[in-house]
């Protein structure tokens, strides 16, 4: 049996390892089109900050990991799929036949309708290759404009601040992370960023980015002289002030304001990589449509991760949940099915955690609540703390927290197990900060 996996991100790698665990003798081919060993996009911000080297982003640290498992990892881009004939066409002309296929091609950044997106110095922040470009320009003191303060944008924000750039954030929504946090929390985050010296413009868009015509040529570098050749360094010179940072781009906002920037980072959302499947005959929605076993609409073909439109535990609907833990979960379950262990996918829980210049926020499930459900809310503006819990009957269905890092995972536990809180529910509506107590008590049967 030949299993082929397209995409060597967390979903693809988890799947390859899981298939191997259950099918010792099967052939496994893992195809990735990037220029690095399988890595984690999530680790990119820490690479940008300089906390880790590129190798620190790798999903598996051990050299030879894939060889040791008998996983044939190949750098190749799939151009198209013939689902009926079970054949992939690779860029370059090769064909690859499979018995079972996993589509784990992830997503790509959306390019918003802004004039000048192709200029040098305008970057998305999605791949290691992107991060290398950003690292070159994001020097301390450089003016940087970040377009988009969604979840990914806000993670990049943190890394850019850590690099010491002069940051302006432009977000078209009315607050930061509008799809992860409510107004109270998103507004608190904005106030926090502003207090830390970041300019945050909400309800604003970038209209155009331009390169001013007459950029001054850089002063010619003097030839290395005798001392330099002898000692590998320049002879002492009178110290000149540092050269001004080369601000090469002009950014125009929809309110008419303009600003200079050395770097513009675009984080305006992502879209599943399904372009190569348009003629495949597979059913496609926002991503690859799958059933409750993560099977696509043709036999022996599965999808997982950012590219899959799979069940969302909270809504019960099929939706793309583009987060790392879901990619791993999908990869694991799809692989069990591919390996011949029928395993249903009950649905994944949407959850995020964000560190914004030291202020940690998180959200889980139906954090916006449902009609007719109850809510517990605690807002401490001065203390930078917020907790909001949402209930359906006496079950927790969603939550969000700002400034809380102890035991936050309990929210996932309560939501995903659907544990009935009984009398604790009313206590939590009055005092949501008793969450951890409620969790332990309920699990221990303490009324």
């Amino acid at each position: 049996m030949h299993h082929v996996i397209i995409g060597a991100g967390p979903a693809g790698v988890t799947a390859a390892e899981t298939i191997r665990k259950h099918r010792g003798g099967d052939r496994i081919t893992l195809l990735g089109d990037e220029d690095a060993p399988p890595y984690s996009r999530m680790a990119i911000p820490y690479y940008l900050e300089g906390d880790i080297a590129e190798t620190g982003t790798y999903l598996r640290a051990a050299a030879g990991h894939y060889d040791d498992l008998g996983i044939d990892l190949r750098q190749a881009r799939v151009g198209s799929l013939d689902a009926g004939a079970k054949i992939l066409k690779l860029d370059g002309g090769d064909e690859l036949a499979f018995d079972r296929l996993l589509i784990a091609t992830g997503a790509s950044p959306i390019r918003p309708p802004i004039e000048g997106l192709d200029l040098a110095g305008v970057q998305t922040c999605w791949t290691l290759a992107d991060a290398r470009e950003i690292a070159k320009r994001a020097e301390p003191g450089a003016s940087v404009v970040l377009v988009g303060a969604g979840f990914i944008g806000s993670i990049i924000l943190q890394a850019l601040v850590a690099k010491g750039v002069q940051l302006t954030v432009v977000e078209m929504g009315d607050r930061m992370v509008p799809r992860m946090l409510d107004e109270a929390a998103g507004t608190m985050l904005k106030r926090w960023c502003e207090a830390k010296g970041v300019r945050v413009l909400t309800g604003t868009t970038v209209k155009a980015i331009a390169k001013p015509e007459a950029a001054k040529p850089a002063a010619p570098q003097p030839e290395p002289g005798f001392f330099a050749r002898l000692f590998g360094q320049r002879p002492p010179e009178p110290t000149a002030p540092p050269a001004p940072v080369d601000e090469t781009l002009k950014v125009t906002l929809d309110n008419g304001e303009t600003m200079a920037a050395k770097l513009v980072v675009i984080a305006a959302g992502v879209r599943p990589n399904i372009g190569f499947l348009q003629a495949s005959g597979l059913e496609l929605g926002a991503g690859v449509s799958v059933d409750d076993h993560l099977r696509a609409s043709a036999p022996d073909i599965y999808a997982a991760g950012d590219v899959a439109e799979a069940r969302d535990l909270s809504s019960g609907q099929f939706d793309v949940l583009a987060i790392q833990p879901v990619a791993v979960e999908h990869g694991h379950i799809a692989a069990l099915n591919m390996a011949g262990n029928p395993t249903p996918h009950r649905g994944s829980l949407n959850m995020n955690v964000l560190d914004t210049i030291g202020l940690v926020s998180s959200s889980f499930g139906s954090w916006m609540g449902i009609e007719g459900g109850d809510r517990g809310q605690l807002l401490d503006e001065a203390g930078w703390r917020y907790l909001r819990l949402e209930f359906d009957g006496d079950r927790l269905i969603g939550g969000q927290a700002v400034g809380l890092t102890e035991h936050v995972g309990m929210m996932r536990g309560l939501i995903q197990t659907g544990l009935r809180l009984g009398a604790w529910k009313d206590r939590l509506v009055k005092a949501p900060e008793r969450l951890t107590e409620a969790y332990v008590a309920t699990a221990q049967g303490i009324k």
């Binding site: 967390p10 988890t14 984690s40 999530m42 680790a43 820490y46 906390d51 880790i52 620190g56 982003t57 790798y58 999903l59 598996r60 640290a61 535990l313 790392q324 833990p325 791993v328 979960e329 694991h332 379950i333 069990l336 262990n341 395993t343 249903p344 996918h345 009950r346 649905g347 994944s348 829980l349 959850m351 995020n352 955690v353 560190d355 030291g358 940690v360 998180s362 889980f364 890092t405 102890e406 035991h407 936050v408 995972g409 309990m410 929210m411 996932r412 536990g413 995903q416 197990t417 659907g418 544990l419 951890t436 107590e437 969790y439 332990v440 008590a441 699990a443 221990q444 303490i446 009324k447």
Partner: protein, 157 residues
């Protein structure tokens, strides 16, 4: 042989020696706030519940880690490798027990690692509410059964 911390809340008197021992062993200070085991105090019910990582088989924290910084050792203990942890905190939201926490001072996450096989909390407990023993002998903890319900699919190991 897998060994585990077996907790019997019925024997806990709420003295918090375990919290002090843990914080001293792991952080070098006697400070319950820095302990990886926590005693919940339900005074209205006159109940105390010591609470920490169960080293669950599902290892949500390990699965969610983007840099392979959490691994399971031969005894089933989930350990955080500080040199690989980037501090992204995804494990802290992925752990349905809430027993992996972020330490802002170090920028890494912390969890119970059973003190490398000689847990300070169990040694400090005067009433045997916390004992370190063989998993088989101890039988299944309530929490382990519940963990299964968190899974997105049946966990076929």
């Amino acid at each position: 042989m897998q060994r585990a911390l077996v907790i019997d809340p019925g024997k806990c008197t709420g003295c918090k020696q375990c919290e002090l021992a843990c914080s001293y062993e792991k952080e070098g200070v006697f400070n319950p706030a820095k302990s990886r085991i926590r005693v919940f105090d339900f005074h209205q019910n006159a109940r105390f519940v010591p609470y920490t990582c169960t080293q669950c088989d599902e290892a949500w924290c390990q699965q969610a880690c983007p840099t392979n910084a959490i691994t399971t050792d031969a005894f089933g203990v989930k350990n955080v490798n500080d040199s690989l942890c980037v501090g992204c905190k995804v494990c802290t939201i992925a752990c349905p027990f809430g027993t992996v926490n972020y330490n802002a001072t170090t920028g890494k996450v912390i969890k119970c690692d059973m003190c490398g096989g000689d847990p300070a909390c169990a040694k400090a407990c005067p009433t045997d509410a916390i004992v370190y023993t063989d998993v088989e002998q101890a039988g299944y903890d309530k929490m382990a059964a519940w963990a299964k319900r968190t899974d997105a699919g049946a966990q076929a190991n």
